[in-house]
Assembly symmetry: D2
Homo-oligomer: 380 residues x 4
């Protein structure tokens, strides 16, 4: 996130700034305890209501590799992964997210996680045997924003299948890329995740300083997670990476062939934010999965923060194709540590959808242009 | 076009049939004279209102090669072409199409063209020096459907630049692929173009036998031209081919970078019809250009005709992404041989847009499924 | 093939000419009978010595679709094909080619084929039930050059699987593209195949007029078959097309993963001749298969014939990568109509390998450059 | 590098181990001083003998962006870079490398660099204004292996052009990926660079423990630099990344079109080591440039180290295509801090070329297979 009065307009129409201290009316306190040293987003645990249907989606359609499975749980990984899994599908009564799990640098970082969240007054649980198979000593918390976060270091190694081209499908998923969280107050979330060690890479704001979304990273890509403004805590999507753009198109083609094109929600397209090529699809429970490729290196400490004007019609899709309303409004519930859904709190700041679509909102293609840029919105 | 009672449903959800005699209430008579032997669609002559703006679009954005130009006319070709041009931009007061031009096999085919159209009572003009530079002896007609058709054989050869990779752009256009014509009565048009020697490869129908569109070829691709049901005669689009899908994505990316993403009308996407990958963009006058790649070989005389149900939500976009309304309603005027716009006659058959979108229409993703499949239409 | 004294040098370093009458010291007579109207190369019948090993190669590695199979024969097709097969694998004692099979426009063309070859004194057999499953009335001949040619029109239609993206592999083969025949006297072969209706698109010559190879087409691609100078009659390769270049790279990657990279003989690379992207691999019997994509349209009667200088180091590989010697010397036997291998007659003209590699030959990268261009040859 | 007795064979034919302490007969001492915290390889300074020829190669052929230039020096960057440059071309009498430059995390890391190398007895120079434009306070050293290493933090920011698709070429270079250094004693080099903070990701060894090459990283890719066994200190290559494989093929195609295909030294191909897609080309002075895409994430501290058997014919090219001898033997001189070439010391350990090619060496495609796998080597 960025100070609007210190930004530089680029030749591409967005702004770059330095990462700035976040202003929040209602900040989560910054603990005195040091945060754990997070390496990367590592896996998501999803509760699904029909395990067979979910398996068909993630294994048969998307081609994820089954590391291990039984009647209750399926452990899946991408082709370049060497840890036990990137996705856990657990059968349950209500579709939801049970954990956003991050790998930390060392076993000692689990102690740091306990201290960090304990100081914040959060509920913390530690399980030396892990909460799921393949993972050892783990800490799970209900974080100050209501999200179930997990931290672990110990993990079972499995074979990295990157060279096993005999196993590749046309839409091969090679890596877990990031999570995306829906939360009502984006600056509050960003400030807290900065305390946890995340760095902001891009955000969407308006001239009044309303923040609509922000992208934050540990590994040097555009993000390990993002805060999307909306009713929350909810999970917006989990994203897997492919090597090339044609791999993403192949997933669309296959979903057409399987006559499940109605599970393609948005895209494919080129993001403005992140500059990545993307696709959003929906699993049988409506959990949103992004397929993503080719963002950029962000690992320098002075990596320029990119700020997009919420009215820039190319911020979400560089080609100006519309964001479908469901993408703004729908998201998955998240669970507390007892497995019950967290209550959803409404966003009170302006919604990005309202700000940019239809009678109340506007967007532009060229900044000095009066024409509205939301192409389909003008027409339907 | 196909007999609905003799069709076979494929595992992909559409039908295959044999090409059938067309039923038309109001047929154009079949001349006794043999038609000219058409090789392929060869070039389109477009009237544009701002030659510099059009040059910026076709040369600077799309990368077509200028064979020759002056203050009034620009002659452009694609990288694999060896004839003088595939596109003529001529400055004029009203944006329109001056000619759909086809190359014929031999000089004698021009005599056949004269006889064929003369017998039909059409206005016919022959110019031994050609109507444009680079082309010799040519015949232009106002065809029975009101379209300005041209036929030529003699043409100036220029260098085929296919090996000149130093000239390629990321979105390189390598070949003119096809035309697309809007006409009120599709069966009438198809029957006439069959008389002219075209073969039907695909069509869109409903169970009542209404024909919404049909694709017709001379060279063994899915089409050299198509008849799209709507108010006409008008020109729906002219299409250029790229080698690969990423070339089409690169055009989108570049139009975003140039902040002209509002000139991306529809796509990119995968067609159901033709199985090609596509993009529709608009030139400064609103002439629609398709960028297209990877349809299939159709050159056998018994090539199966593919028939799509108008309610199949994947017929126009295999991924079920919506067809924007402007794509159904907007098209370019065509000129008579005096250079005046042909009057536009309204379609009286059901419109495809009405049949498939919104309150009056419906579409499906799975044939046995009650859910409507027009995803954005459901949401906006 | 071209008249060297009437050629034009292009900016890419090769020459274009018009197709010229072929000079041959020992021509096959031109029959008075009209040739059959050939549509395209349609399938090859290969004799293989280990049917299971061949199935593993063509089905498991390359992903061809099994239309039908039993203990003796496997019928395979590519994804965009609607006729019964593009490849027949028949178990037999000696690896060889039993038929180069072409589809003709009409049943009457079979009568023409009989008359044409009978007049030439060739052995001709006609089988109204076809020589293989899925094909009806067929004519097989031992052609004047010793090759087993087949012609058919009647064929069983099967589903064109082009839209079945759920069946695609990363290296999906979509179409049979061409054959390539090794024959000692290239001008003699070209002259004969012109009599059969083929058109020359490209060739390789030297300044003395020696012809090393020529490419000939019926469908409007660079070739349906080619004549490669060498000891013959033998089969050099059979080629399948992919949609994109990454599909070909995926086949290489998969062969690496399966630890059969020693069956990659040459490539991948960009051809000079044809401008296509290519790969040559070897099946378990050593039958050579090319994977090929993106040549250019050649359907106009005055399509410029491209002539490459045999010393141009980019003629066979546009990037100047070496042609391995086995590619010049190895080829498959062909069978007579009794199923016995045809005797192989040595080429007496200069061999392309000798003309361009090593102590006796030379090649250049830039025509005015003294440096030798055969990069690895200089080094090993 | 890895302990051979603790390795696990993968299903792909190579081995994985944990990173192990390096055994060296002649180790560089480990300083007590902490090393600087290196972020990534940042730029290389090349001395070139003909600045105009080098500009034509790096700007006109490869499309790098000129940040700044004068008659003596050209500063170039890739499209996703936000620091002043990734490559400096400086006119000079002898083609050589003046600096391998790394960016460090903070200004204080320069003090650490001074202390680290001073303790090692190396020549150290610090210039608070930088040794080149665009860079501030910098430290240059002659490292214990004879390489000119530079460290800096302060740098001028320039616009990251990632979104400027109007500037992209078909072979667009988006990022500096890595350096590669030739050094006689690989274990000695690896041990020293581990002291400097690098982590080993892959290596090539034989059963006797001879180490032929090792790859080392700071940023979480396969490498920021590599140590290749050979006469040194010399620079083997500098590598830039593209987004996709077709971008690399486009560079080959363009070099063919420009008739400089003799500057394509090796590839394109798929590496075994790193699993990346690659191409090696030579600039006008013979400096080797790699174009590289799609290796994998290596940022976890327990990232499995991959060890390749030097006799595995797929280690250097996954498709088994030959490594040309010049790739093993040729490399660029490196300069001392006075600008004089460092003397080159011969490797005394077995050379990889000798171990694997020709009469003295051998390689295999399948480990249990007696056949030699160096395909062209067997044939020429």
């Amino acid at each position: 996130m960025s100070e609007l009065n210190d930004r530089t307009r680029t030749s591409s129409g967005f702004y770059v700034t330095k990462e700035a201290p976040i202003q929040s009316d209602n900040p989560v306190p910054t603990p005195a305890a040091a945060p754990p040293d997070i390496l990367r987003c590592a896996y998501m645990e999803l509760v699904v209501t029909d395990l067979a249907a979910s398996r068909a989606f993630y294994v048969d359609v998307l081609g994820l590799t089954v590391t291990e499975e039984d009647d209750e749980v399926i452990y899946l990984r991408s082709l370049e992964e060497f840890i036990h899994h990137n996705l856990v599908l657990r059968k349950g009564p209500v579709a939801a997210v049970a954990a956003f799990s991050y790998r930390v640098r060392s076993p000692e970082d689990l102690d740091r996680a306990v201290a960090f969240y304990t100081e914040l007054g959060c509920r913390v649980e530690r399980n030396p045997n892990g909460f799921v198979k393949g993972i050892g000593d783990s800490v799970r918390v209900e974080d100050p924003l209501g999200f179930p976060y997990e931290f672990f270091h110990d993990v079972e190694h499995v074979e990295r299948l990157a060279w096993r081209y005999d196993l590749y499908t046309p839409g091969a998923l090679v890596r877990l890329d990031h999570f995306n969280q829906v939360t009502p107050d984006v600056p509050r979330a960003v400030r807290h995740y900065q305390d946890l060690g995340f760095r902001v890479t891009e955000d969407i704001q308006d001239d009044e300083g309303t923040v609509y979304a922000a992208w934050m990273r540990r590994k040097p890509t555009v993000h390990d997670t993002a805060a999307t403004g909306g009713d929350g805590p909810r999970m917006h999507h989990v994203a897997f990476a492919t090597h090339e753009k044609h791999n993403i198109l192949a997933i669309c083609d296959k979903m057409g062939a399987l006559r499940i094109s109605d599970r393609i929600e948005r895209g494919p397209g080129r993001h403005g934010v992140s500059n990545a090529f993307y696709l959003y699809i929906l699993d049988p429970d409506g959990h949103r999965v992004e397929i993503y490729t080719q963002d950029y290196y962000t690992g320098d400490p002075d990596n320029p923060v990119v700020t997009w004007d919420v009215h820039d019609n190319q911020r979400r899709d560089w080609w100006g194709n519309p964001v479908v309303p469901s993408w703004y409004t729908e998201a998955s519930l998240v669970l507390d540590l007892d497995g019950n859904p967290q209550p959803v709190i409404a966003r009170t700041d302006t919604s990005e959808m309202a700000a940019t679509i239809g009678a109340d909102g506007f967007s532009y293609t060229r900044e000095d242009d009066g024409d509205k840029g939301f192409k389909i919105g003008n027409q339907l």
